[in-house]
């Protein structure tokens, strides 16, 4: 079994003391920011990117990955105890988790969330190990036409699955693609949209955009809302499940894991979509559906398993195709580039230690998370009593220091402020920033592949339709668009996100 020897290789990498230590840092930090509402994995990873310069690439990626799936564990804690989702992917956990807490069953809810996440995390690790290498093999045969169509499909999938207006989301992608072009054009050496500003000739840093439209904007929007929190921490007791709970939760965990694993792989997928889909599916098929919204344990088990599975399998498109499917993965691309690693199918064969080490670390990390989240729950609950007025200045400070340390220039900080302002305008106009970020990351790659494909075909645009794989991907993108535009489905899609 090749997969087993590969996983053993990976475990060898993941279990070295330094990697274990940074994996622990990652999941600890992930849990922390997961518990705290108002700061998400995007801002945190962006903040820490510069600090990973000095580390070995594997160690850096292990830590950054840990932040993402660690946040999925932490997010459920605040959802259950405070009725505030610590992460957007825990929004649906509030519905039944908080009700369970009010009925004095917070312990059971926290327990099922942690154990379900752990199970899902283990399964997702195996899914990545099994699916990624064959997919990478296929991807190695891709030419520029296939890559271009793949990116089109990925971007379409991202907007189809996102909520809000479809047209605006597509426009945000195009705007992101344009912003990604700022700087020196690699083919001609012409400086584009840089307006003779020296700092712009290398392009706009990804971290700057992410910090602006996610970090700063998030803080401003949070400050608009009144702070209301009611913590149920006195009632956390009995961190274990009864036999009946176990029986009810097991099928929900299984279904959630399957849904999450599949939706994570899709471009545009990830933890958020997985948790919504798993909750609505569970609500339809569960025997206990009458109790949903009133403290049904299935309503916690399914989405919490799904978001963890989805968070992990969303690494598959990144590691095999080099294409980020959500903003967190886009940041991982940034992290790889900082360390001189070109994300793409060649990673599996050229850098097996990196690839398998990262996968194995997820399993190790999940094990740490169960320990961090169950016996030590009291510590996290205390954290929730820290008021936001103490948190947000610190968040802003870390963002600012993170940006500055990227290139030791205060110009970058001012640029991030402009993106913060722009992000605030986006919020007021109901334009989603996530598609913009995806477009921003893919912009240069897309142009490069378009140019190459058209050069090879001597300017014949039909090349995208005559290559079978490319055609299939464009057809898939077209079908997805048609489905969403069809009114009946549009209604349904809104329903899912209204819940």
């Amino acid at each position: 079994m090749e997969i087993i020897s590969n996983l053993i290789l990976g475990l060898g990498v993941a279990m070295t003391p330094i990697n274990m230590l940074y994996c622990f840092f990652g999941v600890l930090l992930g849990t922390l920011i997961g518990v705290l509402p108002g700061i998400g994995p995007v801002a945190t990873i962006a903040m820490l990117l510069p600090a990973t310069f000095a580390l070995n690439p594997v160690t850096a990626l292990i830590m950054l990955a840990g932040i993402y799936y660690g946040a999925q564990y932490g997010g459920s804690t605040s959802a259950i105890l405070v009725n505030i989702p610590g992460e957007t992917s825990s929004v649906v956990t509030c519905l039944d988790g908080y009700q369970m807490a009010r009925q004095g069953r917070a312990g059971a809810a926290l327990c099922v969330a942690a154990l379900g996440s752990f199970f899902a995390g283990c399964v997702a690790t195996v899914v990545i190990a099994g699916f990624a290498p064959p997919l990478a093999e296929v991807a190695l045969k891709f030419g520029p036409a296939e890559y271009f169509s793949l990116m089109v499909m990925g971007l379409v999938a991202a907007v189809v699955l996102a909520h809000g207006s479809l047209i605006k989301a597509i426009a945000m992608i195009v705007l992101g693609l344009l912003l990604g072009l700022v700087g020196t054009d690699v083919n001609s050496g012409v400086s584009r949209f840089a307006f003779d500003i020296a700092e712009l000739s290398d392009g706009i840093g990804f971290v700057i955009v992410a910090m602006g439209v996610f970090g700063f904007t998030e803080v401003i929007v949070n400050l608009e809302l009144k702070e209301t929190r009611e913590v149920f921490f006195k009632k956390v007791s009995g961190l274990w499940l009864t036999k009946a709970d176990f029986k009810a939760a097991t099928p929900a965990v299984l279904r959630g894991t399957v849904i999450g694993s599949i939706l994570g792989i899709l471009p545009g997928g990830g933890a958020l979509l997985a948790s919504f889909a798993a909750y609505s599916f569970e609500k339809k098929v569960s025997k206990n559906r009458a109790n949903f919204g009133k403290g049904a344990i299935e309503g916690v088990a399914a989405p919490e398993s799904a978001n963890n599975a989805g968070a992990q399998t969303s690494f598959i498109p990144l590691l095999t195709l080099g294409i980020p499917s959500n903003p967190v993965m886009a940041l991982m691309v940034g992290a790889m580039t900082i360390h001189g690693i070109q994300p793409g199918p060649q990673i599996v064969t050229n850098q097996p230690e990196l690839f398998w080490g990262m996968i194995a670390s997820m399993w190790v990390g999940n094990l740490m998370l169960v320990v961090l989240n169950l016996p030590m729950i009291g510590m996290w609950v205390k954290l929730l009593t820290v008021p936001y007025r103490m948190l947000f200045p610190a968040i802003l400070l870390f963002c600012a220091i993170g940006i500055y340390s990227l290139s030791n220039s205060s110009f970058d900080i001012h640029l991030a402020v402009i993106f913060g302002l722009l992000g605030y305008v986006f919020v007021k106009l109901s334009c989603e920033p996530a598609p913009l970020l995806l477009g921003f990351i893919l912009g240069p790659m897309m142009e490069e592949n378009l140019r190459r494909a058209m050069l090879l075909s001597r300017g014949d645009a039909t090349v995208f339709f005559t290559h079978p794989i490319s055609l299939a991907m464009l057809v898939a993108a077209g079908i997805m668009l048609l489905i969403v535009v069809a009114p009946a489905v549009r209604k349904k899609r809104e329903d899912v996100f209204v819940e």
């Binding site: 001609s188 400050l223 007021k428």
Partner: protein
């Protein structure tokens, strides 16, 4: 003509402005041909698409009723962004410690409650922690003080 969905209408206008700017500035870059694309090709095409999408969004905003644009809350907006700009200015000339105090105090003014003692304590802790972690721990090169 009445704007029935201000959010859509103004979002469309924003896209048209960005698309128009892209095409305007891309005019000075060589366009090339489909087979040999110049640096102006892709941005011009994207600009055109963005304008089309913007027009569509704006027109929809004239036809279908929708949400008003949310009120701008100038207080958190100005204090938060202002505090960060202040940090950037102070960092270069006055050093990390002064910059941290400026950022924390000014941004805290943008919150719902402002307790001076609490804010100063927070700034002190963060300043000491940052110098320890970033200057000594991670060896990043920050000017610590104005000297």
């Amino acid at each position: 003509m009445k704007i029935r969905d201000p959010q859509d209408f103004w979002a469309g206008v924003m896209f048209i402005v960005f698309g128009g700017a892209a095409i305007f500035f891309a005019r000075s870059y060589a366009f090339g041909s489909a087979a040999k694309m110049g640096p102006g090709y892709f941005p011009s095409v994207l600009g055109g698409i963005l304008i089309a999408l913007g027009l569509f969004t704006s027109l929809r905003g004239l036809v279908f009723a929708g949400q008003p644009v949310g009120r701008f809350n100038w207080k958190p907006l100005l204090y938060v962004l202002g505090s960060i700009m202040l940090f950037a200015f102070a960092l270069q000339s006055l050093g990390l410690v002064v910059a941290i105090f400026a950022l924390i105090v000014v941004s805290a003014l943008g919150g719902h409650e402002f307790k001076l003692k609490e804010v100063l304590a927070l700034a002190l802790i963060l300043a000491v922690g940052s110098v320890a972690i970033f200057n000594y721990g991670l060896q990043l090169q920050f000017p610590i003080g104005p000297w």
